[in-house]
Assembly symmetry: C2
Homo-oligomer: 150 residues x 2
DNA sequence: AATCATGAAACATCGAGAGTTACGTTACTG
DNA sequence: CAGTAACGTAACTCTCGATGTTTCATGATT
């Protein structure tokens, strides 16, 4: 994976955590995400500090959601991950002497910032509850599709 | 530089090409951009295929702009670069079996695509002529600033 | 005491842009 | 026509951050 898939993975995992009964181990989460348990712990660490999940050690331990999905916006998760870099493209030199490059930077920054604001606005609008509701719709559609074939 | 600075660099360079008299060598361009001549050639190759610049070999050779800046939109340059990846974040799995992940992907793709559309729209609105005009304003301001100190 | 789980450090892997070296080709110059 | 200046290109290396892996320590349950 050449992209930063942490936000995507965490959204996926958090909804499963909500659906799960009792704590989910890093091992189980890793199997679900197709990755390694240490990667899961590392990534969830930020969410724990942000109060999104709780972890318990020992027997029957693991990860638990500490808020309802409706109180969780995609933006909260993004911030809990440390607000990773959004864009793969950027300025060659953020503080150039050359006035030409300064003008280029002004145009590019403006465009990038606007796109970033739109993205952040959307992340703040959509809750994990919304995504879970979409999942439920997909699940019903999926089951109906199977029923028709029966 | 951890970001893709090609668009930024090419915008910068193209305006200098417009201002320059006669062809500019890759070596001179590299010095201006703080990089290597081979990097310049490699990057400009795409712009040449897109008809944005021309290259001539031999004595007094180098790179020349083949269109006026007002006919060049930032988007043209972006496309000539092969439309590089815009976002550093993305989906962990673009075609998952899991319906939860499908729902997550739907939300994230939607948000990312909207942000991308806004960015592309802006890149298509701004011409290199606009940026050059902004440079001219900055230059006047710069000279006035120096004059006041004199 | 044994086991199961997280916490965390240390290191390897990977991909893409960037940088570098080297050599071939083309075109001008004297 | 030899020399030189420039692009064209292949084939590397370097870098950086996310990802993956190994290992050991710590804490909680049985």
């Amino acid at each position: 994976m050449q992209l930063d898939g942490r936000l995507s993975r965490m959204l996926h995992l958090l909804i499963h955590l909500d659906r799960a009964e009792g704590p989910m181990t890093s091992e189980a989460a890793a199997a679900m995400l197709g990755t390694n348990a240490v990667v899961v712990r590392r990534t969830l660490a930020g969410l724990r500090e942000a109060g999104i999940v709780r972890s318990t050690k020992g027997h029957a331990g693991g990860w638990t959601l500490s808020r309802p999905l409706d109180d969780l916006r995609m933006l909260d998760v993004y911030k809990a991950l440390g607000e990773p870099r959004i864009f793969a493209i950027g300025l060659a030199d953020p503080a150039p002497q050359c006035l030409v490059e300064q003008a280029v930077n002004a145009s590019m920054s403006e465009a990038l910032h606007r796109a970033e604001r739109l993205l952040v606005e959307q992340l703040s609008t959509i809750t994990l509850g919304d995504i879970a509701a979409d999942f439920d719709r997909r699940l019903r559609g999926h089951l109906e599709g199977r029923a028709e074939h029966a």
